[in-house]
Amino acid sequence: MSSKKSDTLSGIAKSARAESWLGAWEASADPAYCRDLEGRVLAANLSFARKFGKSTAKLVGAKVFDFVHPDDAEKLKTVVAELSRPPHAAVSEHRWLTPQGIRWFSWEKVALRDDSGEVVAIRAVGRDITRQRLAEEQFYRLSRAVEQSPVSIVITDLVGNAQYVNSKFTAVSGHTLEDIIDKRIQVLRDGHPDEASYQKFMETIRAGGEWRGELSTERSKNAVVWESVKVSCLRSPGGEITNYLCLREDISERKKLEHDLRQAHKMESLGTLAGGIAHDFNNLLAIINGYAEVCMLGSADSKLLQKGLREIRSAVQRATGLVRQILTFSRKAEASFAPVELNQLVRDLVTMLAETFPRTVTFNMELLEPLPPLRADQNQLQQIILNLCVNARDAMPSGGIITISTSVHSGADLKRHDVQARTNYACLKVSDSGMGMSPEVRARIFEPFFTTKQGNQGTGLGLAVVYGIVVGHHGVIDVDSTPGVGSSFSVYLPMAESAVVAIQAQANTEFPSGTEKLLIVDDEEPLRDLLARAFMKKGYGVVAAANGLEAIDIIGDTNRQFDLVLLDLNMPGADGLQVLKVIRACRPTTKVLVISGHITSDMRAKFKALGQDDWLQKPYALDDIGRRLRVLLDAAPRAAA
């Protein structure tokens, strides 16, 4: 544009009345102004003048660039090019310097053209959008923060349609928002095991409540993701629920660690237990060895010989019990409830612990006799006693007294806990004379991984495990502690409605005789011979197989008849499971008694699937096996599957 022309224009500007430039916007409440292509103000309305604290007359001829934030000046210039193209209108946002400070304005600009269509001036009508702009900036900041969250975030409408998912959600689930819309994926339902669970969840949040839980989802093949989920409502300023917010945190790793640590802790307890057992074992071995030597001396006195053998047998039985204990403990077995003599359990464990704990720690037992038996899992009860005693020991580094007492309380006595008033509870109380706990520590002792022990001495799981077991038995636990005096833990476990009497160890009598035919399958020759001889003596017909393959041959031979198979599990060649499959296929009505040293729950499930429920644990007494076998034979015949 030539300078001559612009002179003319500014001439027009000086002479022309403001309305001719501003038109209807002269009286507008929105600030409006006109400028020439060089950026000189040709006219401004009152609203504009107020905003910039000058009179309209003074503004004419002023340079707009003096009012515009320097960073936005370039934008102001480029808009000219846009206005020269149809539709000769544009909207732009920039910062202006006003007496109030920097303000954001949105300008609607229109090119004013002369008769030949040339743009001669620009008219701009603006609005102060500072507040909106700040809100947008805040929105950007917050949305960036949400985007980077390590937690999956989903916002849905009230029906459950996704409206927003953050990048973590997409990364974990593999679904983008477009996918979710395309495939109509119901994001809130994800992970609920069934319709009932989902409906209950929806009820909670529809009522405006918050829902928390842990859900597992199969994200890809065989990869199950555990998530801690929290769903809550988003409300409008008026208090109406507008959206649901779902936060999902991947806790698979934590779940696995917890599980591993629990197992590690069990192994740690096992170490303590094994220490005690080793001691007991040595004693038993000494007894066996001693009496065996006596017997070998070849005394003529048959009574003395008999006594020696009886002692050996009883020592072996105790050793068997010990091994069984340690085996069941190390297994990830689920609880199996059976009547337990609590007092006897305490006595046995205390004997063992007294050997392994420092000499400065002494035990004091105050046991209520007689105490009716409890229905409980013996292993888990042992674990409770063991963990409480170990904690008591650690609370008394310089020694002291551990008092273990048992008593019976009615549910009414324990009202402060949420228990059934009609039930009686057996109480096991373990007290120490140690340093006690502060209220802060006391409040947290049952949290997993909370420990006051230094370094690697504690996993922080001991009391958490105790707590878990007590809850599993529908019991309660009570803690009493005075700093400097000591702590006591009271475990209350419900007693059976009608006191179940623990099955007394049966007296060793001769086992019943029979005439049925048995097939004995065991690769251990001495055991096989022993069983064969014992049963033949009782009148049974016996066939023996030295391994699985031989057993399968015999089973397949239709000329042979037998009523029951005694089956060992671990054998070279074909193992017990394979033999059992053959039995089920060829002789579906034949009864089977499985004998094994150690059965994993996996294995147990496989046998269950084949309809096999009868087990005998190794090592066994001949009496046991004789009676079990009789019971099985006398029971109703097996129905063919």
């Binding site: 149809p86 539709p87 985007e147 409408d157 349609n161 928002l177 477009e178 395309d182």
Partner: protein, 307 residues
């Protein structure tokens, strides 16, 4: 759905029933975009400092992307307020990451064609025609009393031939048949489409964008862009679209997937759309003629470098 009373094919039997046609349209996957556009978009969204307006500018060049983004934003904000018809606002509401994911999940025409036995279709031509029509529709509508402050005026133009893109997916062999049939005008192309498929591209496209929750103005304008007189509502949109379509054809950018001779100058003055917009021969018509002549001069330079 809109009632079809006037565009029924007169004689030829309908090869597909309405239900089957709708099923095919609804089962149509994400429509593909041009590689160059998607590349430009993915470059932009990879940078954190891109402006929404820049991103919207790119998306506006692509009918497929525009449909997808509007569908997404209208699904997300469905029921809350009016339908959103502004690409820049859609970019703002969805956020940069959603656009990035959108771009990542975009099928690209050039790659798609490698796996197809179909002869290469003139996609680029279709895209140019769509953009040109969009620009002109916006200019024409700016000269009417309608005040439009979102992208509706642009989108009707951009999406008016989306039915042809859908046809390439849903009726690939029929499309080739139609392209091989002689046609002297766009109306003949439409009637060929109805003869072979049952619906023409206008009806197919209208149904497609309706499924994508696009607003009624767009659905109706697309549906009646060859016959604005019969549009039950939003006649100005359909009329502007018809005129813009014809003007763009005059510049030699054909409608895509067809071999109709370019429109002659001022052919659009005889269109129904022109009469709806400006009356028969009044002063408005004179002004509009001048304005269109002006636009025609600028169009090639405006379109330069968009694809």
């Amino acid at each position: 759905m809109l009632n079809d009373t006037t565009l029924q094919a007169p004689l030829a039997p309908t090869p597909y029933g309405d239900a089957e046609i709708m099923r095919r349209i609804e089962a149509c996957p994400k429509l593909a975009s041009l590689q160059s556009i998607n590349q430009a978009l993915s470059d932009l969204v990879r940078s954190e400092s891109s402006l929404n307006s820049q991103i919207a500018e790119i998306i506006r060049r692509d009918p497929s992307l525009s449909t997808r983004i509007l569908r997404m934003v209208n699904s997300v904000y469905f029921g809350l307020s009016a339908r959103l018809n502004n690409i820049e606002e859609a970019v703002f509401f969805l956020g940069l990451r959603q656009i990035r994911e959108l771009s990542l999940a975009t099928p690209v025409i050039e790659e798609m064609e490698r796996f197809q036995l179909n002869a290469a279709l003139p996609w680029k031509e279709l895209w140019s025609h769509s953009i040109g029509t969009a620009i002109l529709t916006r200019e024409i509508l700016a000269s009417t009393p309608l005040r439009i402050d979102d992208d509706t005026d642009y989108l009707v133009g951009l999406l008016h031939n989306i039915g042809k893109v859908v046809m390439a997916y849903a009726f690939p062999s029929e499309l080739l048949t139609i392209m091989a049939m002689p046609a002297a005008s766009t109306l003949e192309v439409c009637s060929n489409e109805r003869e072979v498929i049952g619906w023409d591209h206008a009806r197919i496209g209208a149904h497609y964008v309706e499924c994508h929750r696009l607003s009624d103005e767009i659905v109706v304008a697309i549906r009646y862009h060859a016959d604005p007189e019969h549009a039950p509502r939003h006649r100005l949109f359909a009329a502007a679209l018809q005129v813009a379509d014809s003007v763009v054809r005059h510049t030699g950018i054909s409608g895509g997937f067809e071999r109709v001779p370019a429109a002659k100058a001022d052919e659009w003055l005889k269109l129904e759309g022109w009469k709806i917009l400006y009356g028969a021969d009044g002063p408005e018509s004179m002004l509009a003629r001048g304005s269109i002549t002006h636009s025609l001069r600028h169009l090639p330079s405006v379109m330069q470098g968009l694809l």
